[in-house]
């Protein structure tokens, strides 16, 4: 028989017992829908994280902190005090200028940028003041900008602000804010309110991974920090962490070596990806958990296919006998039935994937107009075509295997016995 005739025959057989076929396909649809949807969520979140990782952009740097000597849990030895150390908030050791100088000496270190401790109280464009926080902008960090650009460390008095402040500060839109003045208010070491006027050069998109603060240059951060910590010898030249940059073409072996050197010198060194990677792991764990439900449904659907095919073989025994008597060989009979099984998988998977994409579109529309309103570029669900094809192929293969046993039974029928079956 020609392949086209095999296909036609199997499709024709499929619609013979419509209700039975529908119910079998329905089980496949439910399983596919579940798997496609959970993968959709996973892909959506992962795509967003990858985008954000791209946003972070600093691939050639470690976040370096001083490693605190353990105070030791109960029962372990008490550690002797070292007067050279200084503790910041949360009991973390702070980095000093001496640390920075030491790190700068390590081979392959290109630059060391300390993070300055500073705290602003509000931002304002005139009368009304709004609570805000400020972050020190690191060169190379890619922020998604709604308008303008990120601050330039070579320029004085620059600031970028998150999009959500726009209307409060009296700006019509993102472009309207560019070039205007923004006042940052903070308390100096004498607890007096100080205001600093900066020029807005950019407006940041909202993001999940936290750039909801205004960004200022390292020089501005240093100035604020100096003002706030003046007279406090502990904090004036101490930093909670530093960004240690290396050459972006540095081979992985040397990056690893640099990391171990830093760790040998009692610093912790993590890339930004290391820190954000944790987030991906948690998401993956949740997705796999949800996928298990879909897989169980599909297994049940697989048994449904086995059952449906066995019933079909029994119903069509005399027909199989006739076909064999008329010269159809075992392979042909096997092909007709296994194509029918694979078709159940195929149609179920196609409908299931289509439904999940439809549901995903509705969910995305709802999400982006409600709880994800401020997160530009975040689609709750994403359905990359290669993934959907993989799901489709997997289910067709599963259905084929489910149909293998009944198909073999059909192909082995003795035509004489089959013709006497009625």
């Amino acid at each position: 028989m020609k392949i086209i005739d095999l296909l036609k025959t199997s499709q024709k057989n499929l619609v013979r017992s419509k209700l039975r076929t529908f119910l079998t396909i329905l089980a496949v649809i439910i399983g596919t829908f579940t798997i496609s949807l959970t993968n959709g969520v996973g892909n959506g979140v992962k795509a967003y994280i990858n985008k954000e990782l791209g946003n972070v952009g600093v691939n050639n740097a470690f976040v370096v902190q001083a490693r605190a000597p353990s105070e030791g849990p109960v029962g372990s030895d008490v550690v002797e005090y070292d007067p050279k150390t200084t503790k910041g908030s949360f009991g973390n050791l702070l980095l000093t200028d001496k640390d920075l100088a030491n790190i700068q000496q390590i081979r392959n270190v290109a630059s060391v940028i300390p993070a300055y401790t500073m705290q602003i109280d509000y931002i304002s464009t005139g009368s009304a003041k709004y609570v805000a926080s400020a972050s020190q902008y690191t060169q190379g960090l890619n922020l998604a900008m709604a308008a303008g650009r990120v601050v330039d460390s070579n320029q004085a008095d620059e600031v970028s602000l998150p999009i959500r402040y726009l209307s409060y500060l009296g700006f019509a839109n993102a472009n309207d804010a560019i070039g205007k003045k923004l006042i940052l208010g903070y308390k100096n070491s004498q607890a007096q309110e100080v205001e600093k006027s900066l020029t807005i050069v950019g407006v940041q998109e909202e993001s999940l991974l936290g750039n909801s603060s205004v960004y200022i240059t390292s020089a501005e951060a240093q100035a604020v920090s100096a003002d706030q910590n003046a007279g406090n010898a502990n904090l004036a030249n101490a930093y909670p962490m530093a960004l240690v940059e290396f050459d972006e073409n540095l081979p992985q072996a040397q990056i690893d070596e640099l990391k171990s050197t830093l760790e040998a010198n009692n610093y912790t060194a993590d890339t930004i990806q290391d820190q954000i990677g944790m987030f991906s792991k948690v998401i993956n764990g949740i997705i796999i958990g949800l996928d298990i439900f879909g897989v169980i449904t599909l297994l049940v659907a697989g048994f449904g296919i086995v059952n449906t095919l066995f019933m079909a073989v029994n119903e069509r025994t005399s027909e199989i006998g006739l076909m064999k008597a008329l010269g159809a060989n075992s392979k042909t009979v096997f092909a007709i039935f296994s194509l029918e099984a694979a078709s159940i998988g195929f149609w179920g998977a196609i409908i299931g994937i289509a439904l999940s994409v439809g549901a995903g579109k509705i969910a995305n529309r709802y999400a982006s107009s409600h709880f994800l309103k401020d997160f530009a570029g975040f689609h709750l669900l994403a359905f990359p075509i290669p993934n959907s094809i993989l799901i489709l192929a997997g289910i067709v293969v599963l259905a084929f295997f489910a149909g293998a046993l009944p198909s073999v039974k059909a192909s082995r029928l003795d035509p004489i016995k089959a013709l006497r079956y009625e």
Partner: protein, 222 residues
């Protein structure tokens, strides 16, 4: 040279008593001949026909088709042989009621892998030959008993077979329809020079054949 030559065919089913269904049956069938195999129910006549048609294998004996040893052929070769050389007419019709008359007649051609257009043309030709051209688009289930048997004959003839095996071709029909079917069968047989092997218990039908072979208790008696 006979089309089919069976020698000393025996068939024993593996049951408790192991009584032979056929014991040492020999028969040569010449090309273009019509042979009736007649016998009572349980005489082994149907089993003999199945063996002649390569649908069943004998326990002992030899079977030559066109001079070649049919028992040594692979099952694939036998499938192909049945498809090309043999046509079958069954008492129970074995039609697919959900398909049209045309599709039912075309089934052996579908199995042979004949292209769609040629399939249609040949099937329609055969339907016309048995007087069912107007019923070509009708579902087989909606045909009368006589029409169904004519459809089965059309299906048996569509591949231009050399031999037609007919198992009780008039068994399910009344006298009038039985006559129509036998006229058709013998008419086409003579017209096309086809070899006809009929299994029946109907002596009137058997008389129409060139030769009658009586089978009783697994042996040829006359």
């Amino acid at each position: 040279m006979p089309v089919i030559s069976a020698k000393e065919i025996s068939k024993i089913y593996e049951t408790a008593d192991a009584t032979p269904v056929l014991s040492g049956v020999s028969l040569d069938i010449a090309k273009g001949e019509s042979v009736a195999i007649i016998g009572k129910s349980g005489s082994g006549k149907s089993t003999f026909m199945h063996i002649l048609a390569t649908l069943d294998k004998p326990t002992t004996g030899s079977l030559e088709i066109d001079g070649a040893d049919a028992l040594k052929l692979s099952s694939r070769a036998l499938d192909s042989l049945r498809n090309r050389k043999f046509g079958f007419v069954f008492q129970q019709f074995f039609l697919n009621g959900r398909d049209t008359s045309l599709d039912n007649v075309a089934l052996p051609l579908v199995i042979a892998g004949v292209p769609l257009g040629e399939r249609r043309r040949k099937a329609l030709e055969m339907l016309t030959a048995v007087g069912l051209s107007e019923q070509a688009k009708m579902l087989a289930a909606n045909l009368s008993g006589g029409q169904k048997q004519r459809l089965v004959i059309a299906r048996a003839l569509v591949t231009d077979p050399e031999v037609i095996f007919a198992d009780e071709p008039t068994g399910n029909l009344d006298t009038e329809n039985g006559k129509i079917v036998t006229d058709l069968l013998f008419g086409l047989q003579k017209e096309k020079g086809i070899t006809l092997v009929i299994v029946t218990h109907d002596t009137d039908l058997a008389k129409l054949c060139d030769r009658v072979v009586h089978i009783k208790d697994g042996r040829i008696v006359a």
